[in-house]
């Protein structure tokens, strides 16, 4: 039997079915957790933002209309939470990722650094596509641009990443 779609569950929730919301939470809790942990150095802050995002979805109960994909809506909210959190922490500074770096292999560290060197729009497009598994259309809805723009950003991000890693390799 096919699982109910996210949109179906969200619509059921807006009609008062609380268990549908619980199912959405169990479906996306770990995904959101990973999303914030990849982008924030502080696990506690990541947990707060995950809860804030789910709360924002909960508060949409009255106003939700099934227009686009639920995943796009979820990550768009998560992205906005992330941007506001960073701006609140470092007002006036340009947005840069502080990617979590647990004890890891030197190669992973160089990849992480290369990723950090990318501009925020390129990095976010690449991460949404690669780590969160969003389609170009979904990532476009999250970041407010077209699917083609996301595809082009991902191409540019890969080239920039390869160039960075190449430079790192030569300087070793």
């Amino acid at each position: 039997m096919a699982l109910p779609s996210d949109e179906f569950l969200m619509t059921a929730f807006t009609r008062g079915d609380r268990t549908s919301f619980d199912r959405l939470v169990s479906r996306y809790s770990a995904t959101l957790d990973a999303y914030f942990r990849r982008r924030l150095p502080d696990d506690g802050r990541a947990e707060e933002l995950r809860q804030e995002t789910l709360l924002a979805i909960f508060s949409l109960a009255q106003s939700y209309e099934e227009k686009g994909r639920f995943r796009s809506l979820l990550f768009a909210i998560a992205y906005r939470k992330l941007v506001s959190a960073r701006r609140a922490e470092r007002p006036g500074e340009p947005m840069t990722e502080n990617l979590v770096a647990p004890a890891e292999h030197p190669d992973s560290l160089s990849v992480r650094r290369a990723l950090q060197e990318l501009s925020e729009p390129l990095r976010e497009a690449l991460m949404l596509k690669y780590f969160e598994g969003l389609t170009s259309a979904e990532a476009g809805e999250v970041l407010g641009c077209s699917a083609d723009a996301i595809r082009a950003r991902v191409c540019r991000a890969r080239s920039a990443l390869a160039r960075q890693l190449d430079e790192t390799g030569r300087s070793r």
């Binding site: 292999h105 190669d107 992973s108 990849v111 992480r112 290369a114 990723l115 729009p121 690449l126 690669y130 780590f131 641009c145 077209s146 083609d148 723009a149 595809r151 082009a152 950003r153 191409c155 540019r156 991000a157 890969r158 080239s159 920039a160 990443l161 390869a162 160039r163 890693l165």
Partner: protein, 125 residues
Amino acid sequence: MTHDEYLSRLDGFTDSPGDVSEVLLHADSCAICRKESRAAERSLSRLDPGRRSIAEELARFAATAAILAIVVLGMHRLSVRPEEPRAPEAARYRIVGDASGVVAYTPSGIVVGLASNSAEKGVTR
């Protein structure tokens, strides 16, 4: 646009429709970009060990299948014992004779033994 030209403009591209189509057009036709794309995917997979590229998944699947095949074949060979050489059928003799010799009627023929020499001597079939 060559790959070097593309790289020299990499930081200058924007999300404008013109730039987007230029980047996509180049990426679709450039072998170096395809190579970079695969390399980037491999690099990113180091940050997310849970996620593997298609090539890695295939390699893992092939390795698992090979190990499984070796195990199954090995078990099959162990379960099938090599055929042991058959013990010759016990001969049923009917011996007729006296002290001077014997005549044995066996399934493989008539055996005649002479008592004066050894049992084997003078055996005819």
